[in-house]
């Protein structure tokens, strides 16, 4: 046996095959519980799984949809920055190509160029020429920087090597954030000079403002060392150290989900510039990004809860319906079994009784004749000693034989195969006739007989004599059961197209359950001393033969009700 089938068997055993030793009420309760658990398991679990999968997928796609515009915006802004710097660089380059070193060294000339420059290209702060020794030889701008020696500064060496240099943002002598652009002119080292222009980074702020960010979001430039190049709304001023650390190298686009120093969950997009050591950082708090998501999530949650509740309600309804059906079916089956058992028991008892009665009948006949002969002889002999005494004795023997005969005949009658004489009759009339036989007794005892006979009761095909016997037995029992001035109700009705019903109800002593169980068995009697215990057994036998049914309900102290159901048409075969 494989492990799986073993498991399955175990499962079945524990779930649906419930031990018989348990109380039946417990069994149904257990079955009910297990069915509910099982159904919840097979419905709710997939639902939960599906909801979780959906949750994740939605979340992922929604995030992508929100992050993408951030990425696009970052790239666009990066380009603007690059374009801005490129433009300034081109301008400086143009000056270096358009003018000779001599012209630029001329202070007036340089001032003139600077004025035009400032007018055409806003953002330029000053312009200066530095010779190969690092000395500022010519300067146009608001500061007194002529003759300043830059030879010990790093950017100076870089421009000598590369020909072009763009600085990080710095405060320098000017005390406001700006960048410097330096371009070398001339080819030979001894004759070369450097044209250096500084640009106000106020322009950067304009570019960031153009991103039109919401109040919760932030964007700023940092250099590769992690120093702010523009103001940040939340994280610091220009030249402060940035709390975020972008990845090293030129990484293009990088998206991180992290926590900012204020503890907010954020999504940050780092965009590295192609030519400069800058990164544009765009930061949005997750709460803003996922606002849509939360709305969707609560809707999904709502739907989930509603469907779960519906499923559970349905499961409860269905299982209790099924359990009730099962229980009904079980009860009906059990009842049918009990009835079958009962009728089999009665028929075997009947057969036994008939056999015994028949065997007893013959010796009884002999006793009867012997006693009769004795009596005859005594009567014929006039001088018989103790004549009267002997006559009394033989009479008493014959009376006893008569009593035995009554019993054997009734016993035989209980089980015999008797030909039933079917005729069309009205059960109402039969009931009234039988009441006629009993009239003396119930009138004398003041018993109230109530008739609720259906006037339109259809005629049925049955045996008149046998029906009389049936009603006589049941009615005399009822009359015996009630106290003086009690009441007995007889009702007839049209049960269904095949049957009619008769009920006889009394408010007498009633019977215990134990009594009801044995009531149709021969020789069972509660009338100690004077009952044969055959009345209801015969009644039962007759009703069976007529194709009908008899049922009894009773409660001690409240009375009994006998229901007799008779077929309208004679049964095809009237044998036992």
């Amino acid at each position: 046996m494989t492990a799986q089938s073993k498991w399955l068997r175990y499962f079945k055993l524990n779930f649906f095959n419930l031990g018989d030793e348990k109380d039946s009420e417990d069994r149904y309760r257990l079955l009910h519980r297990n069915m509910i658990l099982f159904m919840i398991l097979v419905t709710i679990v997939p639902l939960v799984l599906m909801a979780l999968v959906n949750y994740h997928q939605y979340r992922t796609s929604l995030k992508a949809e929100i992050i993408n515009p951030m990425r696009v915006l970052s790239s666009k802004t990066k380009h603007s920055f690059e374009l801005f710097v490129e433009e300034k660089l081109s301008t400086v380059r143009f000056i270096t190509s358009a003018y000779s070193i001599e012209e630029l060294a001329n202070k007036d000339k340089l001032n003139k160029i600077f004025r035009v420059l400032k007018k055409e290209f806003p953002g330029f702060v000053d312009l200066g020429l530095i010779d190969y020794k690092g000395i500022q030889v010519s300067y146009a701008g608001p500061y007194e920087l002529l003759g300043k020696n830059y030879s010990d500064q790093s950017w100076y060496h870089e421009v000598i090597v590369r020909g072009v240099y763009i600085s990080d943002v710095f405060m320098g002598y000017r005390k406001f954030p700006h960048i410097a652009i330096a371009v070398q002119l001339g080819n030979d080292v001894s004759g070369s000079c450097i044209l250096r222009a500084t640009i106000d980074t106020h322009q950067f702020d304009n570019l960031i403002a153009a991103m039109e960010l919401d109040a919760e979001s932030d964007a700023f430039l940092i250099n590769d060392k992690g120093v702010f190049q523009t103001h940040s709304k939340f994280y610091g001023k220009v030249l402060d150290n940035c709390p975020f650390s972008p990845p090293l190298g030129n990484y293009g686009n990088y998206i991180a989900e992290e926590k900012d120093p204020n503890g907010r969950e954020i999504i940050s997009v780092y965009t590295h510039f192609d030519k400069m050591g800058y990164s544009l950082v765009l930061i949005k708090p997750k709460s803003v990004i996922l606002k849509t998501w939360f709305t969707l999530k609560s809707e999904m949650f709502f739907i989930f809860i509603i469907s779960t509740v519906l499923i559970i309600l349905t499961i409860f309804k269905i299982t209790s319906f099924l359990i009730n059906k099962t229980r009904d079916a079980d009860e009906r089956r059990e009842l049918a079994f009990r009835e079958l058992e009962h009728s089999q028991k009665l028929s075997s008892i009947g057969r036994l009784a008939a056999g015994v009665a028949h065997e007893i009948n013959n010796p009884l006949a002999i006793i009867n004749e012997k006693a009769g002969l004795m009596k005859d002889l005594i009567e014929l002999t006039s001088e018989f000693k103790n004549r009267e005494k002997f006559l009394g004795l033989t009479n008493s023997i014959q009376k006893s034989v008569e009593r035995c005969k009554t019993i054997t005949h009734r016993l035989l009658g209980f089980a015999r195969r008797m030909e039933v004489q079917f005729e069309v009759l009205n059960v109402n009339d039969v009931v009234k006739e039988v009441l006629g036989f009993l009239e003396k007794e119930y009138v004398y005892r003041g018993i109230d007989i109530r008739l609720e006979l259906d006037e339109n009761l259809p005629q049925i095909s049955s045996d008149l004599g046998q029906l009389q016997q049936v009603f006589l037995n049941i009615l005399s029992n009822a009359i015996a059961a009630v106290a003086d001035n009690g009441n007995v109700t007889i009702k007839t009705w049209d049960q269904d197209p095949e049957t009619i019903g008769v009920s006889i109800k009394d408010n007498g002593t009633g019977m215990s359950e134990e009594t009801i169980k044995h009531i149709f068995e021969p020789f069972f009697t509660t009338k100690k001393g004077y009952g044969t215990g055959l009345g209801l057994a015969i009644t039962y036998g007759i009703i069976q033969k007529l194709g009908g049914k008899i049922k009894v309900e009773s409660k001690l102290g409240e009375g009994s009700i006998f229901h007799v159901y008779l077929p309208k048409k004679a049964p095809l075969k009237s044998s036992e």
């Binding site: 012997k370 002969l373 015999r416």
Partner: protein
């Protein structure tokens, strides 16, 4: 009126002898047979007026004897005795031509009434 000649047929010897004696005491001319075959041969030699016949007998049963009587000697009246406490045998017998039936144990006065009635009745 001459007392009728009666044949009692029953396999219960004790019963039938006693009954015969009682009927003889009452002046009837009684013959006895213990089974169907001997009853038939007795009837052939001296036919009785009335046969009192038990239904349940080993060998030739009461109803078979009745049929033979009715086919061979239809003038003879037959009264059946049944021990099964059932009217079915009696009714079946009457259908076959029996005059009447009695259930065992019988009342002798009842039997005599039926015997007298059968004599009066035209067979």
């Amino acid at each position: 009126m001459k007392k009728p000649n009666i044949l009692l047929v029953d396999d219960e010897v004790d019963f039938v002898q006693t009954l015969a004696e009682r009927l003889q005491l009452r002046g009837f001319d009684i013959h006895v047979a213990h089974d169907g075959d001997s009853a038939m041969s007795q009837m052939d030699s001296s036919p009785p007026d009335i046969v009192v016949l038990d239904v349940m007998m080993p060998g030739l049963g009461g109803l078979d004897v009745l049929k033979q009587i009715k086919s061979q000697l239809p003038k003879i009246q037959v009264i059946l005795l049944t021990g099964r406490g059932s009217t079915a045998d009696g009714i079946e017998g009457m259908r076959l031509g029996a005059f009447d039936y009695l259930m065992k144990p019988i009342d002798i006065d009842e039997l005599i009434k039926k015997i007298n009635a059968s004599i009066r009745s035209p067979s």
